[in-house]
Amino acid sequence: MLSYLIRRILLVLPVAFGVSVICFLLVQIAPGDPLTAIMAIDATAEEQAAMRAAYGLDKPLPIQYAIWIGNLVQGDMGKSIATGRPVAAEVFGAVKNSLLLAVSAAVIAFPIGIFLGFLAGYFRDTWIDRAVTALSITGVSVPNYWLGIVLVIIFSVNLSWLPSMGAGPGGSQSWAWDWAHIRHLVLPAVTLAVVPIGIVSRTVRALAGDILSQDFVDALYAKGMSRADVLRHVARNAAATALSVMGLQLGYLLGGSILIETVFNWPGSGFLLSNAIFQRDLPLLQGTILILALFFVAMNLIVDVVQAAIDPRIQRT
């Protein structure tokens, strides 16, 4: 298992390298000059050159990349062009908030998705199965920003039960586990949970249905096992695949919440990303994408390792 782990981690390094190169090149291929936004419109050629040198943009690309990576591993991701604040601080603050939102959505979505999926798989081809299927297809198909707006209209505007904007009294920088903060989390987390409920329930339904139709289920009953015993076996068989789907869903939740964070003004990475795009803040854009991409790579690694650890059929050498 240890050698598998080491090998798997070593395999991640080239992927991480590729990701960093793409993020770096993003600045190069983006149309327009990143400095125009902060430069005076009437800057002279010398002033422009000086600015270029100050940002290291006058050096050849590989050197620029080396410098960028060198700074990166020391935790220096440059400064935001728009705010002048260090990118690292901005990104980590935002990722923390996004993670909070993503994990909350996952905590809502995964148990519900597992429960519904199991129900549909166990009662395959009955009205229960059809109801769950309809529900999950609706969940996956409804645009979630639209759903977010509908929920805001109902629960914030009409009923005034829950707030629709921001992350609570402390603003973007301080989160606390009290109702004043949690009530801000409810609507975005619920909205974000709808798609993974659909996907997890579809996955678990397929898994449970497939496993229940296998011969060993008959064999379990034939040796006198109870229904509860059989369901335990089914769960254990489904665990590895279900966990990996959920791990990847968590990755998507973190990276894919741009629209939801924008709808709810949630100070997370998606919100930061959309700001960075609209303000053409390339260092910030670069840093945010890099961190999100690396998180996704890490999530994949964790999923693979966990799967190998709990599923004896997977080759671990």
């Binding site: 296998q214 011969d215 060993f216 008959d218 064999a219 379990l220 009953y221 034939a222 040796k223 006198g224 096992m225 109870s226 015993d229 076996h233 254990r236 068989n237 599923d311 004896p312 059929r313």
Partner: protein, 325 residues
């Protein structure tokens, strides 16, 4: 002594998109410790008969009529805990595909122990030592290490030995073996057959051995019941079946076997295919393939004749001497 098995007028019908009359009026009885081969080609209802015996048919889609008593107990009325005690305790089963019948994510030791814990009420450690003992008895080498293997780490033959160990761990009075060697290589098949025969002598349980291979049937069992289209069309001791088969179908099987047809093709050596069972047969189901069929055969179900003690044949011609072909 109470009969080990008394099955009377069993009928099984599957409902759904297509109705299948899988079992039609099957009666069977077995003494304690008897070995019976249930012989028939694919689709003749052998597996359904065994599954009915263990109450494994999907309740919503199957309609079961008739009665089954095992050691005097009406097993069709068993529910809940009583049914669980019966399954694996009183009667247990070895499946055709050992690769599919074992749970891939539990060790084989766990899977045997689980059953022992349920039936004997012992703790995990005790159950594991029973499992180890059973692996020894089915002649699995270095059983101690194998206990912690997963099914995919074993060969097909080893997996079938594990299934047998699992089935016998709680000392059932009746073992159902559903084509236990069909999925295995020829040399392994023979080893498994010999093992089953030895274990039967050692443990003294009754065995229903399902096969489509008449050679295997006569090798393993004292009695043979031949199934066709969900009916038992002939039954007798192995000796009677070999020497004095009365039903043209059984005779065809024997002839094909003697003429050294390649293994596995023996049953298809009789031209034609068994009938689709969408309706309950109301004439001799073998008539379309029967070389000696008469017009009367298509008019009504042939009567069940009893030419001897526990000897039966369902054929109009069985009463009269048959002209050899």
């Amino acid at each position: 002594m109470t009969k080990l098995l008394e099955m009377k007028n069993l009928n099984v019908r599957f409902k759904g998109k297509r109705t299948v009359h899988a079992i039609n009026d099957v009666s069977l009885s077995m003494d304690q410790g008897e070995t019976l081969a249930l012989l028939g080609e694919s689709g003749s209802g052998k597996s359904v008969t065994l599954k009915t015996l263990l109450g494994l048919l999907p309740p919503k889609r199957s309609q079961i009529d008739g009665s089954i008593h095992v050691n005097g107990v009406d097993i069709m009325s068993l529910r809940g805990r009583a049914l669980q005690r019966y399954r694996g305790g009183e009667v247990s089963m070895v499946f055709q595909e050992p690769a599919l019948a074992l749970d891939p994510v539990y060790t084989i030791g766990h899977q045997i122990a689980e059953s022992v814990m349920r039936h004997k009420g012992v703790d995990k450690a005790n159950a594991m030592s029973t499992a180890l003992d059973m692996l020894d008895r089915v002649r699995i080498p270095s059983a101690n290490r194998r206990l912690h293997n997963y099914p995919h780490e074993l060969s097909g033959g080893m997996r079938q030995r594990v299934m047998i160990a699992l089935a016998l761990a709680c000392r059932p009075r009746l073992l159902l073996a559903d084509e236990p060697t069909t999925a295995l290589d020829a040399t392994v098949q023979i080893q498994i057959l010999l093992l089953l025969r030895e274990l039967q002598k050692e443990f003294g349980m009754g065995v229903i051995f399902v096969t489509h291979d008449i050679g295997v049937a006569v090798e393993i069992s004292e009695r043979v019941a031949v199934m066709y289209a969900g009916q038992i069309i002939e039954e007798g001791t192995t000796h009677e079946i070999i020497r004095d088969a009365r039903h043209p179908y059984t005779q065809g099987l024997l002839a094909a076997n003697l003429h050294d047809v390649a293994r596995g093709e023996r049953l298809s050596a009789i031209p034609g295919a068994p009938p689709a069972l969408e309706a309950r047969p109301d004439s001799c189901p073998f008539a379309p393939r029967c070389p000696v069929a008469m017009p009367e055969c298509r008019a009504d179900l042939p009567p069940m004749l009893a030419p001897g003690d526990r000897r039966r044949v369902a054929c109009l011609r069985a009463a009269q001497p048959i002209a050899a072909e």
